[in-house]
C-alpha cells in the first residue's frame, strides 16, 4: 500500500467540495454542469478507493465499488448530453446561458 485509504478519501472529499463550490458559485450553466461532473467524479474516486481497501474481503464487497463507478461514468455522460441539449435550446432563445437570468418563474 503506497498511500493510505485516508489520502484517497480526503482527495475525494476535497474534489467533491471543489465541484460543490463550482456548482454553487458559477453563473454560466456550462460551468455549473462542470461542477456537478466534478462532484460525480469525486464520488468515483471514493468508491474505487473503498473498493481497493476491500481487496481482501469477499468478491461482492470488492467489485461493487468498481461496477458502481462504471455505472456513474455512463450515467454522467448521458446527463451531460441532456444538459447540453437543454442549454443550447435556451441559448438559441435567450442568447445567454447565465443561470441567474433563467428566472421567469419566482415564488
Amino acid at each position: 500500500m503506497l498511500l493510505s485509504l485516508n489520502s484517497f478519501l480526503v482527495l475525494g472529499a476535497l474534489l467533491f467540495c471543489i465541484g460543490l463550490f463550482g456548482a454553487l458559485s458559477k453563473r454560466n450553466a456550462i460551468s455549473v454542469l462542470m461542477g456537478i461532473e466534478i462532484m460525480l467524479n469525486a464520488v468515483n474516486i471514493t468508491l474505487v478507493a473503498f473498493s481497493s481497501a476491500f481487496q481482501h474481503s469477499a468478491h461482492g464487497a470488492r467489485l461493487s465499488g468498481q461496477v458502481f463507478a462504471v455505472f456513474i461514468i455512463t450515467v454522467a455522460a448521458a446527463e451531460a448530453a441532456v444538459a447540453l441539449a437543454t442549454i443550447i435550446a435556451i441559448y438559441r432563445r435567450k442568447s445567454s446561458v447565465d443561470v441567474t437570468e433563467i428566472n421567469m418563474m419566482k415564488w
Partner: protein, 117 residues
C-alpha cells in the same frame, strides 16, 4: 511518497513548459503596434456585437450522440472481461443491450439527426 516523485517532477515539467512557451512567444514575437492596427478594421466604428461571439456548430447533435453511444462502451467492458464465464445467457443479455441501443440508433437516424447540413 517516494514512488510519486517522478509524477511530481513530470507535473512540474509540464507546468514549466507551458510557462516557458508563453513567455518565449511573448518576447520573440514581432510587435509593431500602430494606432491603425489597434483600431477596429478600416472605418473605425466600434463593434456592435462582442467580437468573440460564439457561432453555431453544425455537428452539435452528432457530438451529443457520440458522447452517449461512445460511453456505452464502458458498460461493455466488464461484460467482455467475463464473457466466457457468462456463457449463452450473458451473450443474450449483451445482444439485448445492443438491440436497445440499435432501436435508439434507428430512431435518431430516421429522424435525420445524422444528415449533414
Amino acid at each position: 511518497m517516494a514512488p510519486f516523485v517522478p509524477i511530481l517532477i513530470m507535473m512540474g515539467l509540464a507546468f514549466a513548459f507551458v510557462v516557458l512557451v508563453t513567455i518565449v512567444t511573448f518576447i520573440l514575437g514581432p510587435k509593431k503596434p500602430t494606432p491603425q492596427k489597434n483600431a477596429p478594421y478600416e472605418c473605425g466604428i466600434s463593434e456592435i456585437t462582442p467580437p468573440q461571439r460564439r457561432f453555431p456548430i453544425k455537428y452539435l447533435v452528432t457530438g451529443m450522440l457520440f458522447i452517449i453511444f461512445d460511453i456505452e462502451a464502458a458498460s461493455l467492458v466488464p461484460m467482455a472481461v467475463l464473457m466466457k464465464r457468462l456463457g449463452v445467457t450473458g451473450l443474450i443479455e449483451l445482444v439485448t443491450f445492443i438491440a436497445i441501443l440499435l432501436v435508439a440508433f434507428l430512431y435518431v437516424w430516421r429522424k435525420g439527426a445524422f444528415t449533414w447540413e
